[in-house]
């Protein structure tokens, strides 16, 4: 079902964790879909110095989280914004069609974290759109997204 790369990223995930006093935090997905990704960013000099993730989701979700965070670490914000879901999927040697939405989630989670950073610092980042209205639902919440 999954490529060797995906299995490798799933079995040995990188960048799992939290960042205290993170410069940007973004959460996308919801329990209805069965995928939630939370990204923490440490940003200095316009560069992503550190990135961590927490993900509730399947093998593809964990793998795309690992791959995306590896790809953006050390990049400038502009460079990171160029990394889209197709790039993540390609870096993983492809995903089954039904799992492509996991790579979209990774892209959106990064953007959500960057948006949060921009809001906090009253910056406007070129090419960064407000995230779609995804918020991690509280248990029991029935909010439709």
């Amino acid at each position: 079902m999954y490529s060797e790369k995906v299995m490798e990223c799933f079995m040995n995930p990188q960048n799992v964790g939290e960042i205290e006093n993170a410069d940007g935090v973004g959460t996308v997905g919801n329990p209805r879909c069965g995928d939630i990704m939370k990204i923490y960013l440490k940003i200095e000099d316009n560069t992503i110095k550190d990135v961590k993730f927490k993900t509730f989701g399947c093998g593809a979700a964990i793998a795309t989280s690992t791959m995306m965070t590896q790809m953006v670490k050390g990049k400038t914000i502009e460079e990171a914004l160029k990394i889209n879901n197709e790039a993540v999927a390609e870096a993983l040697d492809g995903l089954p069609p039904v799992k492509m939405h996991c790579s979209c989630l990774a892209e959106e989670a990064l953007q959500a974290a960057l948006w949060n950073y921009a809001q906090k610092n009253q910056l406007s980042i070129e090419g960064l759109n407000p995230p779609p209205n995804y918020v991690a639902e509280e248990k029991g919440s029935t909010e439709e997204n």
Binding site: P13, V16, G34, I36, T55, F56, G59, A61, K139
Partner: protein, 390 residues
């Protein structure tokens, strides 16, 4: 490999395979042909039919071989709808049926039938009273599964059958997970139509049975030759039929003893999981449950990721998560129990078989808590939970 997905399918037992093989090579005659080679197989079919009938408490004439459980379900439901549509257009079923029942019902809704999907309780049960209350003048069919494939809950079939009989409504049961695992008597249980499938009780895939009680008129969907008394044409799958009959016979030998053993193993697994893994729940009725079924939801984690970790250790199981269903929705059965989505996504089903041992379960019990903990350490839901409670 530790195989714990017997509800999905089972291996063919050696005596079953042995019984089937000659029918591929030496006794390959088409039962409809005239010569000895073929006519021998007519008797083979009769014998097989009689064996199946005996184990269901039915008459051989009431047993019809199909390509499997799905075909039997489709035939029963669509057939009654076609036969009785002048009489009424209302069908009663439950919201935890297998898709092979739900989808034909949904198809019939598009054709103008009215379907009531009775809501199960938190354990997955409907009551005979619920069924009775739902019956109307226009009700032509009640279709309720004998035992649920995901959570193992066993329905009060005899009582529901009695209600159906009292009101003159045809009663069908999808018994795919029950046949070969529970004793069944279609007469005593007031069952008019019953579906079963060979590969769920150590028989081959691609072969099943629809039991049709004498007196129930069911039109055919296949038109062709005269096989199965003209009701289900197509050259008979003789090896498959022999396999199914051999398997059902073996399945019902020492059933009580086998069930006692598997129940003990099941309970062992359930108790140890509760002991070793916090924040989990057992899905389905604790007692009124198939002897082999263990279905747990583990909070804060998703099922497919657990299955992958188990698979690497050579442990085969299944999950109710959306990722394993190919759609965005998790198991409709778990949602019907009232589970919130994330709990439905975080479910694992282990279904034991005759060959599983406690040693195998101990291996699973060694790994599973580690895997759950590992996925929890990566989970934002667990992170939130820990923060809220610290």
């Amino acid at each position: 490999m530790i195989y714990l997905d017997h509800a999905a399918t089972t291996p063919v037992k050696p005596p079953v395979l042995e019984a089937m093989l000659p029918y591929f090579t030496e006794n390959y005659g088409n039962p409809s042909s005239v010569y000895k080679l073929a006519q021998r197989n007519k008797k083979t079919l009769d014998d097989a039919r009689a064996v199946v009938a005996r184990h269901l408490g039915a008459e051989p004439k009431e047993i019809f071989f199909t390509s499997g459980g799905t075909e039997a379900d489709n035939w029963a439901i669509k057939g009654i709808a076609a036969a009785l549509k002048e009489k009424g257009n209302h069908i009663i079923t439950t919201n935890i049926e297998h898709h092979a029942v739900l989808h034909p019902c949904q198809h019939l809704e598009k054709l103008g039938f009215d379907v009531t999907y009775l809501e199960v309780d938190g354990d997955g049960l409907v009551t005979p009273e619920q069924v009775e209350q739902a019956i109307r003048d226009e009700t032509i069919l009640i279709s309720i599964m004998y035992a649920n494939n995901e959570i193992g809950t066993i329905m009060p079939i005899a009582e529901i059958g009695a209600v159906a009989r009292a009101h003159g409504v045809v009663f069908h049961t999808d018994a795919v997970q029950a046949v070969g695992h529970l004793p069944i008597d279609v007469k005593a249980e007031n069952i008019d139509l019953l579906s079963l499938s060979g590969h769920k009780f150590y028989g081959p895939k691609g072969i099943g049975v629809l039991y049709i009680r004498r007196g129930v008129k069911l039109p055919s969907f296949l038109h062709g030759g005269g096989q199965e008394r003209g009701k289900r044409p197509g050259t008979e799958n003789v090896p498959g039929i022999v396999g199914l009959a051999t398997a059902i016979d073996l399945a019902y030998q020492d059933l009580a003893a086998k069930n006692a053993r598997i129940t003990t193993l099941r309970d062992y697994l359930i108790d140890r999981i509760f002991e070793r893994i916090p924040y989990c729940r057992l899905n389905g009725h604790r007692q009124q449950r198939l002897a082999n079924n263990v279905n747990f939801s583990f909070d804060f984690v998703e099922g497919e990721s657990l299955l992958l970790l188990l698979d690497i250790e050579g442990i085969a199981a299944s999950s109710g998560s959306a990722c394993t269903s190919g759609s965005l929705d998790p198991s409709h059965v778990l949602l019907a129990l009232g589970l919130p989505h994330e709990q439905a996504h975080g479910s694992i089903r282990f279904t034991l078989g005759e060959d599983n041992t406690q040693a195998e379960l101990d291996l699973v019990l060694d790994k599973l808590p580690v895997f759950v903990e590992r996925m929890r350490s990566m989970s934002p839901l667990y992170e939130d939970f820990v923060q809220k409670n610290s």
